[in-house]
C-alpha cells in the first residue's frame, strides 16, 4: 500500500533496528500528496464495485453505488485541492469542488429513484433479491 515509502522503509529496516522508531514514524511525518487521496479513492471505488457485484440484496447494490460515487468524489476533491498540489502543479481549483458537489446532488437523486424502483420491485415480488429479477432473461 505505501509503495512510496516502502523502499526507504525497507532500506531503513535493513539498515538497522535502532532506526525503527524513525521508520515507524515515517508516515506521520511525510506530508500527504494527491497520490494518497487517489489510492483511497481507488479503494473506495473498487470496494463499491465489488459490493455491487456481490450483494444479492438490492439495497446492498445501492450502497455499492454510493461507495463508487464517493470514490469518484474523493478523486475530484483531491485534484481540486490547491493545498495538496506540489510546486508548479496545476489543479482543478474550484471546478473540482463544484463537480464534487453536483455529484453529491445527483447521487441523492439517483438514490431516491433507485429506492423507488426497489420498493416497486419489493411490492410486486415480496423480495429484494436481485437474482429474482431475471424476467429479462433471454
Amino acid at each position: 500500500m505505501m509503495f512510496c515509502s516502502a523502499a526507504p522503509c525497507a532500506v531503513a529496516l535493513a539498515a538497522g533496528f535502532p532506526a525503527l522508531p524513525l521508520l515507524a514514524a515515517a508516515p506521520f511525518t511525510t506530508p500527504v500528496g494527491v497520490a494518497h487521496y487517489l489510492v483511497v479513492g481507488a479503494i473506495l471505488f473498487t470496494t463499491g464495485v465489488v459490493c455491487m457485484a456481490l450483494k444479492r440484496n438490492a439495497l446492498g447494490v445501492l450502497m455499492g453505488i454510493e461507495l463508487v460515487l464517493n470514490g469518484a468524489n474523493v478523486n475530484f476533491v483531491a485534484f481540486s485541492s490547491s493545498y495538496l498540489r506540489g510546486e508548479g502543479a496545476a489543479s482543478l481549483g474550484l471546478d473540482g469542488q463544484a463537480i464534487a458537489l453536483f455529484v453529491i446532488l445527483l447521487a441523492a437523486a439517483e438514490a431516491a429513484v433507485a429506492l423507488a424502483i426497489t420498493l416497486n420491485f419489493y411490492n410486486n415480488h415480496a423480495t429484494v433479491d436481485v437474482d429474482q429479477a431475471d424476467d429479462l432473461k433471454g
Binding site: 522508531p21 506521520f28 511525518t29 511525510t30 506530508p31 500527504v32 494527491v34 487517489l38 483511497v40 481507488a42 473506495l44 470496494t47 464495485v49 465489488v50 457485484a53 456481490l54 450483494k55 444479492r56 440484496n57 438490492a58 439495497l59 445501492l62 454510493e66 461507495l67 464517493n70 468524489n73 474523493v74 476533491v77 483531491a78 481540486s80 485541492s81 490547491s82 498540489r85 506540489g86 474550484l94 469542488q97 463544484a98 464534487a100 458537489l101 453536483f102 453529491i104 446532488l105 447521487a107 441523492a108 437523486a109 438514490a111 431516491a112 429513484v113 429506492l115 423507488a116 426497489t118 420498493l119 416497486n120 419489493y122 411490492n123 410486486n124 415480496a126 423480495t127 429484494v128 433479491d129
Partner: protein, 243 residues
C-alpha cells in the same frame, strides 16, 4: 518503571515535534473509510451494512475537510450522510424481510468478484502512481476557504481566479468566466422530477396477495411465520405477485 517510561518518552520526544498532524489525521480517516467500505462488502446483515456505510462516508467527509474542500465536506455530511443514507435506511426498513431469511452469495461468485476487484484495483493504482506531479507532497499553505467562492460560483459569478484577459489579472478585456448557474437550475429541476417520479413509482398499490411479512405477523409462531412467509413469497413469485 517510571524512569524507563520517561526515558522512552524522551527517546521519542524529538520526533514528536516533527509530526505532521495533517498526515496523521489523513491516515486515520483513510483507514476508517477503507475499513468500513470493506466491512460493507463483508457484512451480511443489511442494517450493519448501512451502518458501516455511514461510517465510511463520514470518514470521507473528514478527508474532504483535510483536502481544503470544507464546503464539499459539509455538504457530504449533510446531504449524503444525513439525507441519502437515511433514505437508504428507510428503504432497508421498508423492505425488511423476516430476519431469518438470509440472502447469501455463492462462494464462487465471491471469488470471482474478488479477482475482478483486485484486477481493477491494480489498474487504478497503477495509473495513480504513474504521474509524477501527483506524488510530490503537499505544500504548507492550505489556501483560502472555499465556501464563499463556491456559493458565488453557483450563482454564476466566479471569484476564485480572474479570467486570463480580465483587468483583475492585468489584461484589458472585460471577461467573465462562466459560473455554475445553469447546472444549478438544471439540478433543481432534476430533483423535482426525481421527486415526482419516485413518488409515483413507489406508490402503494392494492395487493392481491398479502405481503409475506404481513402473513408472518398475523400467524402464530415465528417458525410457522417463516414457513408461511417462504411459501407465500414463492407463491407470490410464481403468480408474479402482481396486485
Amino acid at each position: 518503571m517510571s524512569g524507563a517510561s520517561i526515558g522512552l518518552l524522551a527517546a521519542f520526544a524529538p520526533p514528536l515535534a516533527a509530526i505532521n498532524w495533517h498526515s496523521v489525521l489523513f491516515f486515520l480517516f483513510a483507514v476508517v473509510a477503507c475499513a468500513c467500505a470493506v466491512a460493507v462488502v463483508l457484512a451480511d446483515n443489511v442494517v450493519r451494512m448501512a451502518f458501516y456505510l455511514v461510517l465510511s462516508l463520514g470518514a470521507t467527509a473528514g478527508l474532504f475537510f483535510l483536502a481544503g474542500a470544507e464546503f464539499v465536506g459539509a455538504m457530504q455530511l449533510m446531504i449524503y450522510v444525513g439525507g441519502t443514507l437515511v433514505l437508504l435506511v428507510f428503504g432497508v426498513m421498508l423492505t425488511a424481510q423476516a430476519p431469518f431469511v438470509a440472502i447469501k452469495t455463492s462462494s464462487s461468485d465471491r471469488v470471482l468478484a474478488g479477482l475482478v476487484g483486485a484486477a481493477l484495483l491494480v489498474v487504478l493504482l497503477q495509473s495513480a502512481f504513474r504521474v509524477d506531479a501527483w506524488r510530490r507532497p503537499a505544500v504548507a499553505d492550505p489556501g483560502p476557504p472555499t465556501a464563499t467562492p463556491l456559493g458565488m460560483a453557483l450563482l454564476g459569478i466566479r471569484v476564485d481566479e480572474p479570467a486570463a484577459g480580465s483587468p483583475a489579472a492585468g489584461g484589458s478585456v472585460a471577461v467573465v468566466r462562466n459560473g455554475y448557474l445553469l447546472p444549478f437550475e438544471i439540478v433543481s429541476v432534476h430533483l423535482l422530477v426525481v421527486l415526482v417520479g419516485a413518488a409515483y413509482l413507489a406508490r402503494a398499490k392494492r395487493r392481491r396477495t398479502p405481503r409475506a411479512i404481513d402473513v408472518a405477523a398475523s400467524s402464530t409462531g415465528p417458525e410457522t411465520a417463516a414457513r408461511e412467509a417462504r411459501r407465500s413469497s414463492t407463491s407470490a413469485l410464481v403468480s408474479g405477485g402482481r396486485p
